[in-house]
């Protein structure tokens, strides 16, 4: 399976792209030979050579290459590059934990139909995931505002929500999948020959499930990324936010500033000023799009592999 995957060009391109993005995100100050603090500093005004103010933030891509700055004059490109590692790693971790929890819960009682979870899954069809997440997140933030907790604790809670939202549908997928494997003839055969349950799960069910797991994992990463982007627009940031009031006295615009630098945060922070600085939102969105495309390539590669296995 692994050997076959390595021969799939789409899979390799996808994996290479994601790892390159991560690598670049960690070492960009060295690679681009810039000072991290310097390039991410706030810049309220732009000066010309003689030191006169020419413009106030946000600056357009032509003023600050390559893609302009946000409301505070922070360079968007560097922000996005720096945020890549948080975004991708958080998404991967959440997807991973979703899969782990759901497989674990399903294996606890593989024959059960989880009717309680099924109800939730039925309901989640009609309510967009972003709204469900928002309901939970806003309650959490409400609590946070009344009795503040440490940033670490908040992040843990938020991640727990993001994980928990993905688990019920996954459990119903897995229990269906495992049931269909258990109903196969060779499993009945193994039981008939006197195998113990744990042995059958370990030797037969999990290996058959493994390719499906990789596939679901990649899909879950994509879903998490999209969910994060949506939550960003709804001004819910991982790690919480601090609110800054911009604009003049007559038209105050409260803007939430995310504490962690991930892409969804950048989108959410710039969303209220969408029309003034579109580049500040389009750049991270484009990065979202490209990463999701890379993940789709990986999925395509896995699926190609599965098909050739079948035939």
């Amino acid at each position: 399976m692994i050997m076959k995957l390595v021969r799939q060009p789409q899979f390799i391109i996808g994996v290479l792209f994601i790892s390159f993005l991560l690598f670049f995100s960690f070492y960009w100050p060295v690679l681009l030979d810039v000072n991290k603090q310097e390039s991410l500093k706030l810049m309220d005004f732009l000066y010309d050579k003689e030191g006169r103010i020419i413009d106030a933030a946000p600056f357009s891509p032509s003023q600050v290459p390559p893609v302009g700055t946000d409301l505070f004059g922070k360079n968007i490109f560097y922000q996005v590059i720096d945020g890549a590692k948080y975004t991708i790693l958080i998404a991967i971790a959440i997807a991973c934990l979703r899969i782990l929890f759901s497989v674990g819960i399903t294996l606890l009682n593989p024959r059960s139909s989880f009717s309680f979870l099924n109800d939730i899954v039925q309901a989640t069809l009609y309510i967009p995931t972003a709204i469900i997440a928002y309901i939970f997140m806003s309650s959490l933030l409400m609590k946070h505002s009344m009795e503040p907790m440490s940033v670490m604790k908040l992040i843990v809670f938020q991640c727990a929500i993001l994980i928990g939202i993905g688990v019920p549908p996954l459990i119903s997928t897995f229990s269906r999948e495992i049931k269909s494997i258990l109903n196969k003839d060779h499993i009945t055969n193994t039981f008939a020959l006197g195998a113990k349950k744990p042995y059958v799960y370990y030797r037969h069910v999990l290996p058959e499930l493994s390719t499906k797991l990789i596939l679901l994992f990649a899909q879950q990463v994509i879903q998490t990324l999209i969910l994060m982007a949506h939550l960003g627009v709804l001004a819910i940031f991982i790690g919480g936010s601090s609110t800054v009031v911009l604009g003049d006295i007559f038209t105050p615009i409260p803007v939430s500033i995310p504490i962690a630098g991930e892409w969804a945060g950048i989108i959410g922070m710039n969303f209220p000023k969408l029309k003034a600085a579109p580049w500040a939102i389009l750049t991270p969105l484009a990065f979202f799009a490209v990463s999701i495309f890379a993940l789709n390539l990986i999925i395509q590669g896995i699926q190609n592999c599965l098909e050739t296995n079948k035939s």
């Binding site: 069809l125 009609y126 309510i127 972003a130 309650s139 627009v233 969105l285 799009a289 993940l295």
Partner: protein, 273 residues
């Protein structure tokens, strides 16, 4: 068609239970809200307070109009595009298919924002307002949200129909029809398309769920007064009521679609046996 009202009720009961769980779970986990003094049938966006009733029915109608018009648009567009693609040479078809995978990766948010900006950009440069980008007073906008909402489903449906088409074109009955001297064009139109439409029913659930989620983003970014905005901002009983307004008719649609696909599958199993 073997739709049973009983299984619909079962599905509905499960949905209602699920919605109930979702709406009380946050309060259970993170404590009750302090806004107890607030009226349940009232919600606020920013500083402005809104009443749920009776506006919700207008909003509901508005959202559903956008939803179903977008659905029809994308279905129509996908079928037309598929038809023309099948007339193209093989390597072009492959390029189109790859391109679709690329387009499919675009997040809905990206498409909404880009579309909004391109229209503003066109307006700024040429003075031509293709469509209103946000609600002007009480005149709700239709064109742009429908267009935006239909883009991603079009891509998905296009891809699905292309795949189905490929599968369908290699079925023996097509060879039989060709052996009777019918032309490719005629077979595609009269036989293949017909069968694709019936198999599309089994994808309807995925597409609907996907589109509901998109509808939310479209409403939020364009700042439309739709049902999804109500859903986002209400809590407790009002939230449940809104969610049910969406769930009841849609679950009926799903039930009908599923009862049909199940019967098709059964028939195939009977054939195999």
């Amino acid at each position: 068609m073997n739709f049973s009202f009983r299984s619909y009720l079962k599905r509905l009961r499960s949905t209602i239970l699920g919605i109930l769980i979702i709406s009380i779970l946050p309060a259970l986990l993170f404590g009750t809200n302090t806004q107890l003094e607030q009226n349940v049938w009232e919600y606020s966006i920013g500083e402005i307070k809104y009443q749920v009733f009776p506006d919700i029915f207008d909003k509901y109608q508005y959202s559903m109009t956008i939803f179903f018009l977008a659905l029809l648009t994308s279905l129509f567009a996908a079928l037309v595009l598929t038809f023309f693609t099948t007339l193209l040479p093989r390597f072009l078809q492959r390029i189109i298919f790859g391109f679709l995978t690329l387009l499919e990766s675009l997040p809905d948010l990206f498409i909404v924002v880009v579309l909004q900006f391109s229209i503003i950009y066109i307006y700024k440069t040429t003075g031509l307002l293709v469509a209103n980008v946000s609600n002007v007073y009480n005149n709700p906008i239709y064109l742009l949200p429908i267009l935006t909402l239909s883009i991603l489903p079009t891509i998905q449906l296009f891809k699905i129909t292309l795949l189905l088409m490929k599968e369908e074109q290699h079925k023996p009955y097509v060879t039989v029809a060709r052996a009777m001297g019918l032309s490719r064009f005629y077979i595609t139109l009269k036989h293949v398309f017909r069968n694709i439409l019936t198999s599309l029913v089994q994808y309807s659930k995925t597409i609907f769920v996907f589109m509901l989620s998109n509808l939310f983003i479209v409403e939020y970014v364009f700042n439309l007064n739709g049902i999804m905005n109500v859903l986002l901002n209400t809590k407790g009983v009002a939230f449940m009521f809104t969610a049910l307004m969406i769930a009841v008719p849609f679950s009926l649609l799903f039930e009908i679609a599923e009862s049909n696909t199940v019967s098709i599958n059964n028939q195939e199993e009977e054939d195999a046996a």
